[in-house]
Symmetry: C2
């Protein structure tokens, strides 16, 4: 418990959640470099590409033991594969979808997940019209079968794409049955015990934030019509 | 330009982006209270529900002129309607989807958006099998028609659900043609001018972060098998 409170642990080091949230982005950029046959990169070049400071990059990567060499920069392939290991992407994960509606089906149909080792093995729903169907080869089961399935299969992550009214109670059941993490698309915050790992994707909140920003520009322009012109280069 | 740099403007006040990001969550909780016929609430009660401190709530809402009354708390309906106005949710928005794949289709099929005034009016794709179809009444057009459509219809937001290799170039076109905000689901960061409003939904990054957190627990447990027991109440 001492390890929590904003800081997390990796091999005896403390890594802030801000760094952890940036890791997938490093991984993505390094993957792009690899695809373009770029074998090494300085923190300065990477910094320009990623639009963060070089010192931030050095600091972030130092959390995991550095990887950079003075005067050479980073070995892209090595750094990519190390971050892959750190993120735990060197193995396959078993995911289930709870709620076979639009978003749930879209995620099952998203073949890129499988390429990365995120395998959706079952979908659960209450809708008799969906139960018994398959989506890209993945069976849709009655939620009544979910307990048995989760207890007999090591399920790493449950993807919650179900109505908000049911999300909390089902989330608690899933964790009790052995699911390790919840990827929550339901438009509600989950009230879980502190040690349950949750990542929220609140689509409506994200869109609302965007709309606020758009309106703010319009407000600024009407309050001070100069603002737009001033900001242009 | 002076208004930027972490701080944004609302009616002569400066509002941090952290507050703005929390507004949709306030709006959601207040909507829940209204649905449950709760007409007033203290910052303390709201604090318990939302799992943030009461002083944070008072500080956040003070940005918009307070709303609370000593000894009474907040009038839920009033606060809800004020935040609705602040977020600009008292009008209808015109959205287009660029990329009619799984996620794009799922968003068109998501009827809750429409209820909130987020109306998707067109989908654009390059796939001849999709062009000419309708998704829940929304036509799928050839991307070649997109310029004309955007220039003749006031498009507030383009939802980008297209392959990453094309996202940046199309995003720049859309903004040039008059789109005000980009809701980006493509797995790439958009390199836009500073004044373009962008919200990213990087699903794969979000899932990777969750997997890291799950693995971290496993690492902790193998390093120190006591951790789990200690953390249980």
């Amino acid at each position: 418990m001492l390890l929590r409170g904003g800081f997390e642990m990796y091999n005896e080091r403390k890594i802030s959640s801000a760094v952890i949230n940036r890791l997938p982005r490093y991984y993505r950029y390094l993957g792009d470099l690899l695809e373009n046959d770029i074998t090494r990169i300085s923190s300065k070049e990477l910094s320009t590409k990623m639009n963060i400071t070089a010192s931030q990059i050095r600091q972030d990567l130092n959390n995991f033991g550095g990887f950079g060499q003075q005067g050479y920069g980073y070995n892209v392939e090595y750094l990519h594969s190390e971050i892959k290991k750190i993120l735990g992407l060197d193995r396959v994960y078993n995911l289930i979808v709870v709620g076979g509606g639009n978003i749930g089906q879209a995620l099952v149909n998203y073949t890129n997940f499988e390429k990365r080792g995120f395998v959706i093995t079952a979908v659960f729903d209450v809708n008799p019209r969906l139960i018994g169907m398959t989506i890209r080869g993945v069976a849709v089961y009655d939620v009544d079968y979910m307990k048995e399935f989760v207890e007999n299969n090591k399920v790493d992550v449950a993807i919650l794409t179900l109505p908000r009214s049911q999300a909390n109670s089902i989330a608690n059941d899933l964790v009790e049955w052995g699911v390790k993490g919840l990827w929550n698309f339901s438009h509600v915050d989950l009230n879980m015990q502190e040690d349950v790992k949750v990542e929220n994707v609140h689509l409506t909140d994200s869109l609302m934030t965007l709309l606020y920003k758009i309106n703010e520009v319009e407000t600024e322009e009407s309050v001070n019509p100069q603002t737009k012109d001033d900001s242009e280069e």
